[in-house]
Symmetry: C2
Subunit: 165 residues, 2 copies
DNA sequence: TATAATTATGTTATACTGTATCAAAATTAA
DNA sequence: TTAATTTTGATACAGTATAACATAATTATA
């Protein structure tokens, strides 16, 4: 039993595919659904495991890579280069042909937060990239840092004086 | 015969290491020198090949990884997460403990441009990351896009109507 | 409808990337 | 000199990504 959210996701995805003359096959749908359920970013191999656990018919990493490539090109999935993982990207997250969001990625626990940039920020960034000979559209920004949780945990283990072994 | 630039690089690196009580060993020096010569970002394995080609004594990827980790912690080498590559970072490029630069990376040819951000830009970004529970210091920003050269080359091959096979 | 062309997936193999582990060597501290 | 620490050597292996070719499914064309 699919949720309404999932149904809407699939129908939007189908529209996007039809626009470009490509097909939203069953496997591609399933990959989207699995990513939608997970919400959190996963590697292609992790996705393969989840797929095989959730969906009836099995899939190989090779197919997953191909499907991810397709979905990424269709702006339905986003690839986080810094951590080699994938997350669902539309329609809940929305496309960003002209307004790339900022992805905050924790170096330690690899949690991710998507942040919308303000208009002036976008403008400044666009000017900067153009000035240096890079395309603005289709760009994606990843900021690698450390999240509060990981910072406080590091502090704890340091201040408590517990041994590392 | 080492250039003056290389000599100054090494002496600065030595100072940084001495500050933290660590050692700038021969291998570490060599890795720095190879990266300095290359200027362009390389993977750990590519670096290994260059090292073995340039330097007399051979090195294994395992050692290269360890040395890169060390040099990165010392702010002498920068790791570009998005493309899993390393570039020299000091003293020519300078450290950025509190003012992370923006790295423009071409998805197609993987060329890299380092861009200094203005003070207001830094400020806005810092506020944004803090607001979302991420650390500001030690962060690094990578923007994946396409460089002008690759854009025009794509256009050329498309407009000329030449077949893809 | 039959045939050809295109697209998508199956399957296997393999290359590339990164880390764990333990041993040996080199350096520093006592 | 001995002990502790740091660095490197060497091997194995886990994880990531792609190449290549075969088969199946879909679409286009006669």
């Amino acid at each position: 039993m699919k949720s309404n959210e999932t149904k809407s996701l699939i129908s939007v995805a189908r529209l996007i595919c039809e626009e470009t003359g490509s097909r939203l096959t069953e496997k591609r749908q399933h990959v989207l659904e699995v990513l939608f359920k997970l919400k959190t970013p996963v590697s292609a191999y992790e996705l393969t495991e989840h797929y095989n656990a959730i969906i009836g018919s099995p899939i190989t990493p090779m197919s997953v890579y191909r499907i991810l490539e397709f979905l990424e090109a269709a702006n339905l999935v986003h690839r986080l280069h810094s951590i080699n993982k994938y997350i669902i990207c539309a329609p809940t997250f929305g496309p960003w042909k002209h307004h790339p969001p900022l992805f905050l990625i924790c170096k330690s626990c690899q949690c991710v937060k998507k942040v919308e940039l303000g208009n002036d920020m976008i403008k400044t960034l666009s000017q900067l990239t153009q000035k240096h000979g890079f395309l603005t559209t289709g760009s994606q920004i990843e900021l690698n840092s450390t999240c509060e949780t990981c910072v406080s945990e590091t502090k704890k283990s340091h201040s408590s004086g517990e041994p590392n072994g």
